[in-house]
Subunit: 167 residues, 2 copies
């Protein structure tokens, strides 16, 4: 298998962008921009998310058994870049973004157009990222969506012509 | 949780389109259009795919321990619709599409711009679809890709304004 062919082929998968959040013990909060997300079942409603194994989000999702996926909207490139860096909590903000506590305890960002909250139901930990499968137990929209819902989402390709996860 | 809010929020996840193929015992071949796909690790290179639990592809992936994900290219809407229907093998074609046997034994379509072949390494079977996690062991491109690789892929949204998986 040619390494460049493998890389290009995997880069053919289109992605949206999300801020994955979780709460730890005490005041700890994790928040990280992710793109490896897919729905995985209708009933029950399941999501699968690839999460870097050595990340704070990975640790806090396992600790709390819950996470929120905050859907980035068109034009929110700056927020995507903010959460590529380690998150810093100050009161009810994380890296400057206001949040509230969701029904699962996970932080829900106030300025993203949509979110889902999930309870962790299973995981596969076999690589540099783990697959976390969560059941959607709560969801919210900041406002009604006109047209196709996926057109309201910030896409990975909208970060720039040479931006791919993993370089 | 409002069911319509949940549905709209989940529809905000953008997807590409793929023909998932697998080989069973004897002459059996499964081929189905899927969109619930994400990369899940760099090292080893893992993919996660949501596969309908009562589908032929689900059965043959478990039987053979392998699958191919054939990436549909821009303009291949007709092929996407072909593989929404049950696949019919005739010789070296499946539902009219020529294929060859890949290195894992899974069918590789001849007319799609790219494919990956995976060995099944783990699964989570908790809903109407299962999450199959495969290690990428082979990959191929029909030709070099100009520009962003994800722009060469057929996107779910390109099937039409009201086309979403699951209705």
């Amino acid at each position: 298998m040619d390494a460049n062919v493998k890389k290009t082929t995997l880069r053919m998968i289109p992605y949206g962008l999300y801020v994955l959040t979780a709460k730890g013990k005490g005041d700890a909060v994790a928040a990280a921009t992710v793109n490896w997300v897919t729905q995985a079942s209708f009933a029950p409603p399941l999501l699968a998310v690839g999460v870097k194994a050595d990340s704070a989000a990975h640790a806090l999702i396992k600790e709390s058994g819950a996470f929120a996926l905050n859907v980035l909207g068109k034009g929110q490139q700056a927020m995507a870049f903010t959460f590529f860096k380690p998150a810093v909590r100050e009161g009810q903000t994380v890296s400057g973004e206001p949040f509230r506590w969701g029904s699962t305890g996970a932080p829900v960002l106030e300025r993203t157009p949509a979110y889902v909250e999930c309870r962790l139901v299973d995981s596969i930990e076999r690589g540099d990222h783990s697959v976390f499968v969560g059941e959607v137990v709560d969801a919210g929209l900041a406002k009604a969506v006109d047209g196709r819902a996926d057109d309201a989402t910030l896409w990975l390709k909208e970060l720039g012509p040479n931006m791919f996860y993993g370089g």
